[in-house]
Each structure stands twice: as structure tokens, then as C-alpha cells.
Symmetry: C2
Amino acid sequence: MGTTQLETVPEPKYLHLKTVLSEALDSEFSVGEILPNERDLAARFGVARATLRQALEQLELEGRLQRRRGVGTTVAPPRVGVALGTGRQTWPGTGDDVWQPMDCERAVPPAPVAAALGTGTEEVHLVRRFRMSQGRRVATELLYVPAASVPDLSAIDAPSGPARARAVLRELQRLELDGQDRAVELGSAGAEDAKELDRLPGSPVLVVTTRFAAEGRTAALGVATYRADTCRLTFGDTPDVEIHHDPERRAS
Amino acid sequence: MGTTQLETVPEPKYLHLKTVLSEALDSEFSVGEILPNERDLAARFGVARATLRQALEQLELEGRLQRRRGVGTTVAPPRVGVALGTGRQTWPGTGDDVWQPMDCERAVPPAPVAAALGTGTEEVHLVRRFRMSQGRRVATELLYVPAASVPDLSAIDAPSGPARARAVLRELQRLELDGQDRAVELGSAGAEDAKELDRLPGSPVLVVTTRFAAEGRTAALGVATYRADTCRLTFGDTPDVEIHHDPERRAS
DNA sequence: GAGTGGTCTAGACCACCCA
DNA sequence: GGGTGGTCTAGACCACTCG
């Protein structure tokens, strides 16, 4: 038949759109620049706004775009590398830290945390911290510390607030650290985390769970929530790997 | 006024829906069970199908659900822990590995990879592997190996295929490994990766970039793509941390 | 062929930001 | 108040799986 070759597997519109936009971002836009609004863009590409949004969502997921209600869509800067492991293992709060303690309260941890700590329904110290990088808040963390891990903690001075949090971290550092485990997985920001990270609820986050082992048991457990759009978590000896994922990878 | 307390910040429907579904999953469903189809569920909750889908998408992102076209929506098993770092650093392919070599070709790496390897527009060996865990394919990897890192590689036997890939890995192991860096970030599966991982294009993935240092330079660079829905990447001494992220965390 | 999830449309209204 | 992105609707058709 005289027809031209049909696409055997027609690509969804939003994927094609994503590719087109991605190339335009590389060649015609610079970091921080504002894109046309969604209605205009949709009209320009001849698609419904919902379809355009599907493409924008993925580009935002990949850290290429940043969208803010009432403001617009801007070209995102490259992700910031955030060092998680520097080879040696240390207690939280050691040295001149990038973490800022916020406050500390007593709380019964959720079941899976309680199971790891072996505390049952007992109350533990719950330290809340956040992590800054390049002037932006990139992560929040909840650190669960059983009372048994900080036996000499004075209950009197600094009953709450940042000072209390620092006191708990200081006491924790008196234990000898046997080792630490980490796990990274994808999650979505809950309402609280979203507010603290200046994102909407449901935004993708990287959840880093750290278990601190001392004296043959789990002495503390941290659950840190990193903004997945802006962060690249780095592990290892040298902190500056500058490779980014490139969806169209092979050049050959 | 005699009205009951209004919600000060009315929660979006899809978020409320997500919470309701999440609780139902915990209490009324078991792993592998099939949920009612989307049209029925939407009708049951009195929302449009698109709104329901927004809730399902997030639950799938969090690894709670698994959806397959033509089949249905099922309750997902807990994420599998996938060990990335065991403390000691090793070349890829060392020991009885969970990685299966697929093939090996020669290709010019994409610009950022070439920059890290310092190879310019020179062709390198490109080894493709995939990783199995519990009978499922959980990751694919592209490993870029400059010719200079495997000088004694015979070009004659096993010119391609899995045997060739194994030969490259074997030669690589003759170098002394100085160190290795890793980075983890969120990405979305390209068309190729999606097919190999049995997911749709655009599915969220965890991209792990590994840089192998030897003889004062980058001797190889791996870009691994893990299914974000089913994997929890673990690092550290003991491989079995069984803590999962819990969106409603504090029980206080 | 029947049923599933995936894509797409053309609208509407809302929450938020800023001038 | 005007413009932005975020939510929501009620449809339609398509690609896929399976009996």
C-alpha cells in the first residue's frame, strides 16, 4: 500500500511532549527561567491541559522543572549532591553538622520503629531536625532515641526545644557506636513533611532510614525525608560525583 | 452560628481517599488480593475515576499497590531489601553475584559519563547487566568501561553476548580498586529500561550511579536503574533492617 | 469478546501569589 | 484582581490480558 510507515507502537502524546520539552529546556532555556503558563503551552502543542501536565509532572519528578502555585513553572537548577556516608560512621550531631535540631518531645514510636528499637509501647525521645543545603531546607528527620540509650540525660534543664534536642544528641554520643545501617526508598511526603520542605503533600521524597547500633542493640533510629526533586544522595569516599541520569543515554 | 466546625484547610479529595484506602489495605486486604476495578471503586467513593486514580497512583508510588493493564490492581508485597553496600568495596561481578551479565558492545558514552571517565568521544565497553531478587528483575545497569581499564582484553574470543560481558568484568577485577562512590537519585524509566523492568515508561526508578576509582582515575562507571516501587536499597553492615516508612508516623 | 488499567479531552472551580 | 498551578468532573477511546 502507498501509505507511509505507521508507527508500530504509537508513543503516548505526553511522552513525546516530554521529549520535546526536555530538548527545549536544554537548548532554549536557562536555569531559573519561567516557562509559559500551562494553558498557553497546552494550546501551543495542541493538547489538553491535563496531557501537558502529565509531561510536566515527569519533568518535575526528574528534577528538571520546578512548579509553584501562583507563581509559575521554572527551569530547575541541577540537583544538589547531599552526602550521606563519608566512609566513617558517626553518631548524629557529631562535628559541625549540616543538621539543625528543632525540638524534642517524648512519644510512643509507630509499631515498626518500636519493633526495631525493642521498646514496645514505651515512650522514647523524639528529636526533630532538618537539614540545610545551599540555603534551602532539603530534608527533615525524626530520630527515635530510647531512654535507655541516654541514661544520664538530665530531665530538668532544657525540657524541650532545640536545646533539649542538642542535649539528647550529646548524650547519645557518649555511647560507643558499633555500626550503622541505612536504607533508601521512595515515598511521598505526608502533610507535615510537605509543609516543612515547602512542597505539596504527596510530593516524591527519598526516605532514608538509619539504624545506629551500640552495645549489641539498636541504640537509635532515624527516619529522614529528603526532597526527591532537588536532592541526589551521595555515598562513599569522594563527595563529588557529578554524573546525572540521562534518559537518552546511549549516543552510539 | 450554629454550624459545625468547618475544616479550615479542606483536604483534597484524593488525599482523603488515599488515607481511607490505605487503612482498608491494612485491615481488609491481604498481599496479592485483587481490588475492585477503578470504575467500581470510583463509584463507591462517589468521585470521578481520575480522582480515584490520583490516590491509587500515590499508593503505587509508595509500594502499597501494583497495577497492571488488562489484569487489575493488587495489593503489593512489602518492598524487597536490595543490598548495595556491604561495607567492603568490590568490583562489579565479584563473587557469586546477583547480577546477570547480558551483553557487551562498544559505544560512545553520553557526555556526562564521558566527562567522568575522561574519554572524550572515544568508544568504551558498554556492559549491560540486570539484577534479580526473589525471582524478579529489580534493576538494570549500564557499566561503562574505558578500553584503558581492560588493556589485556582479547578482542577475539567472545566478541559479544554474555560471555563477552563476563570477560570484561573479569579483566576489570585485575585492577586494584582504590575506592568507589555512589549516588542515588529519583528518575523515571525510559522506554528501554521500562521494558526490561516490566514497567511502563515513566515509572519512578531509583538511579544509582557508581564510580569505580583505580590508578588515580575513574576506571569504570555504572548507572543502575532500580524499580522504585518494589525496591528498598540498603547500605551498611547488617543487611536486614526491616523498617518501612509510615506516613502517619507519630503515635504519641 | 469482555474486562482491565492507560491515555486524552474540554471544560470548571479553587488556593495561592503578587502587584 | 488577575494570573498561576492544583483539583475535579464526566465522559471517550485505546492497549492489553485472559478465558
